[in-house]
Amino acid sequence: MIKTLIVDAQKCSGCRACETYCSLKHEGVCNPAKGRIHIVKWEQDGTFVPINCMRCEAPACELICPKHATYRNYTTGAMEVDPYLCIGCMSCVFACPFGATFVDPDDGRILKCDLCAGDPTCVKVCPTGALTYEEISKETYLKLIENADRIPLLVREAIGGEE
């Protein structure tokens, strides 16, 4: 079963380790602006949301690319960009509904998460478990249980019974 990167924003502490290690791994420099993952932060509310490629089933970035430079790596499921085909039009950046396709601030290259070829660095350094690399079936199963768990409570609340 294919694994994927799962984000649980509730756990994120906003430490930016994922961004920084990502840039070190892929670009050989410590620069969150070159990360292929990005944390959006609301410090005063303690809310932090890591944004990363969702690896959509019908990816807007792939569909819109005029040179077919964006393609799926079927070993990992990641959407990658062939730098030799890419003309730098940034269509994929603007088409991405999540804002998860990033651009190198120095040279305009497209930065897409390649899941580190199946061994994501960000997951290794995430201290809170906000980022995990899991089999999709396991993750959906856990979500299912978690949701089902809440339903009896919601039903009781709805009918106005005791907690």
Binding site: R16, T20, D45, P127
Partner: protein, 632 residues
């Protein structure tokens, strides 16, 4: 561009509106960066005789070569100037996310000089620097200021360090705040910033920190990240903050109760509500930039507010002011952070008034009809507000504990417990002799956080084990035994150097050299991987020694002598009346002997406490010796 350093020091003259840069490189061989390089900058830029609030007092921000790198705990920034409180070199340090952003924007250090005619703030974006009008920000609290700047500049990812209303009003112990509670708390940096009419520094950068050996760094750094996460001390901090260790600190007479009045307040040992408070209100635990440690708690308390805190306020706004109500602790903490005043000094101010009231030296009339009863909610919160607003008796306290005591009369003056013009770090020195020594000789009258001090506390947990550690690392089993006067100078010397390694590199000394890595090996390794240098640990420690001596020489130039290396006299005169260390008191003679030993190891003159010419020349500080000691 260099590896590790961005290579640029930013000079901002607020009087002239002039902005220039100079290279970092000439300094790094002798001072590395961060605190160390900052010491050289303040030594060179401060003209003796300049008042702390004079435009000529430089305010300097210092990041290190590791700040902003993929090294865990690399979010630290050192701040220095002449302190309005001690009239010595100020030393303050904050974490959060501002330091890394400054480096991404292109600078290692910022030196502010002069004074802006009108309220202003500095805006730095990717090498573009602009002094902008801050008239509309003046009066805002620190949380509002950060939000307003992000809105004004149209980017929510801008990082801001700023002062609150207390800094604007020159409250002596005003601090700097970034995020929701990361503070450059001590020595009054907020007041110096306020005296320059500088409200905030906003930064945003997309440049990075270049690294010499990226692949190796990645490998080692991932390992460090995991080691920190597996460390029991950090698991405790990440899950519980410091809440669970507080009652233990009181039990072992390490934290004082009230205004260093005594120890072992049974109520707090039995009824400390920190854990319950944490379970109820902690949304999550947070850390600084790239830190898996997360030693801060993010609390959200309805009616009071949200924000982070760690460490000091947990005892400062509880035991030190006889308070067990955790809501009051939190309200006081948030208030201090929003107004921008140092929690440590503020709780000491309140503690002082409570003791004066208790001893009937002052009455409610002296404090605008607020009865300074021990533990009174009204007394605690009103005093904070009045200090920040400089209203009534708060205006007296805003000029410092001593200034306030002088107004109350000679009996009150006798009561003031300070070390070199600052409230001592709230440790109980009577039972912990080495900690007392470190506080007395220490650069800002503050032993925290030094490994040698922690060793004495750790001894309570497992005496034999820590005596063995003491023998291996500090040369004597006695170093770990708190009540012993033997073997205390060497741990002070070693810990001071280790502490400066972390401070010079721009990394967290809680992680490196204190809790997780207990010596300077790992920082040295990371330093070499980032900068591409091949320095041995001794070379980094030598820089630390140079920095320590230069700090001392700055203070000597300000008039500091051996007699100033002391503790409040209470510690020599009033033995502890109860608790585990009942009867302990600091023996003056033995205390002076510990100091002799310390000066001896340091190569300082025992009579005066001044570094010798020989020592200074050995450390390439001949120019400093010439200036301060006179030409040979």
């Amino acid at each position: 561009m260099m590896n590790g350093w961005t290579g640029k020091i930013l000079n901002v003259d607020l009087s002239e509106g002039k902005i220039t840069t100079e290279p970092t490189e000439p300094y790094v061989g002798n001072y590395i960066g961060g605190r160390g390089l900052g010491v050289r900058l303040i030594y060179d830029h401060y003209a003796p005789g300049t008042d702390a609030f004079d435009p000529g007092n430089p305010l300097i921000f210092n990041t290190g070569p590791l700040t902003g790198t993929a090294v865990p705990g690399s979010g630290r920034v050192d701040v220095t100037a002449l302190s309005p409180m001690s009239k010595l070199r100020a030393k303050s340090n904050f974490g959060g996310y501002w330091g890394p952003e400054l480096k991404y924007a292109g600078y290692d250090h910022i030196i502010f000089q002069g004074k802006s005619e009108k309220p202003c703030y500095l805006w730095i974006k990717d090498g573009r620097v602009e002094i902008r009008d801050a008239e509309n920000l003046w009066g805002m609290d620190t949380f509002e200021t950060q939000k307003a700047l992000q809105q004004e500049l149209g980017d929510p990812e801008i990082k801001v360090v700023c002062i609150g209303p207390a800094g604007e009003r020159l409250v002596q112990f005003a601090c700097l705040i970034t995020e929701t509670g990361d503070a450059a708390g001590r020595t009054g940096m907020g007041a110096v910033m306020g005296s320059k009419n500088l409200k905030a520094i906003a930064v945003r950068g997309s440049g990075g920190v270049q690294v010499a050996r990226p692949e190796e760094l990645l490998e080692v750094s991932i390992k460090v990240n995991q080691e920190i996460r597996e460390n029991p001390a950090y698991q405790e901090l990440a899950n519980w903050g410091v809440s669970r260790s507080i009652p233990m600190m009181y039990e072992h007479s390490f934290f004082p109760v009230g205004y260093f009045e005594d120890v072992c307040w049974e109520d707090i040992i039995k009824n400390y509500q920190g854990i319950e408070f944490m379970e109820k209100y902690q949304l999550k635990s947070l850390g600084c930039f790239n830190c898996p440690g997360r030693c801060m708690s993010f609390f959200s308390v309805p009616e009071i507010g949200k924000g982070v805190t760690s460490c000091e306020p947990f005892s400062g706004f509880t035991g030190a002011v006889w308070n067990l109500d955790m809501d009051v602790f939190w309200e006081a903490t948030v208030l201090c952070n929003r107004m921008g005043i140092d929690g440590t000094e503020t709780s000491a101010c309140i503690g002082l008034l409570m003791e004066l009231y208790h001893d009937k030296i002052i009455t409610a009339e002296d404090t605008d009809d607020v009865a300074m009863e021990r533990g009174s909610k009204e007394a605690i919160l009103t005093t904070i507000r009045k200090i920040a607003d400089r209203e009534g008796y708060g205006d007296l306290l805003a000029q410092g504990q001593m200034a306030a005591a002088e107004k109350f009369g000679p009996e009150a003056v006798e009561k003031v417990d300070q070390i070199k013009g600052l409230a001592p770090h709230a440790y109980e020195y009577r039972a912990y002799k080495g900690t007392g020594l470190m506080a007395a000789v220490g650069h800002r009258g503050d032993p925290l956080p030094l490994r040698g001090s922690l060793l004495e506390f750790d001894w309570n947990m497992s005496a034999e084990w820590f005596q063995q550690v003491a023998k291996e690392k500090y040369g004597s089993e006695e170093s770990a035994i708190p009540t012993s006067y033997e073997g205390k100078a060497l741990p002070a010397f070693i810990s001071e150097h280790m502490e400066r390694v972390a401070d010079n590199l721009g990394i967290c000394k809680w992680i490196y050299t204190l809790f997780v890595y207990e010596d300077a090996e790992m920082p040295t390794r990371l330093f070499n991987l980032v900068t591409g240098k091949d320095w041995k640990i001794d070379k980094l420690l030598k820089v630390s020694e140079r920095v320590r001596n230069l700090e001392r020489m700055f203070d000597v130039r300000q008039g500091l002598r051996r007699a100033d290396d002391t503790l409040p006299k209470k510690f020599f005169e009033q033995p502890l009346s109860k608790g585990k260390f009942k009867g302990e008191v600091m023996d003056k003679e033995k205390f002076e002997q510990m100091k002799d030993e310390y000066y001896e190891i340091r190569g300082w003159d025992k009579e005066t406490g001044i570094p010798t010419r020989e020592k200074l020349e050995e450390l390439d500080l001949g120019d400093v010796a010439d200036e301060v000691l006179g030409r040979a």
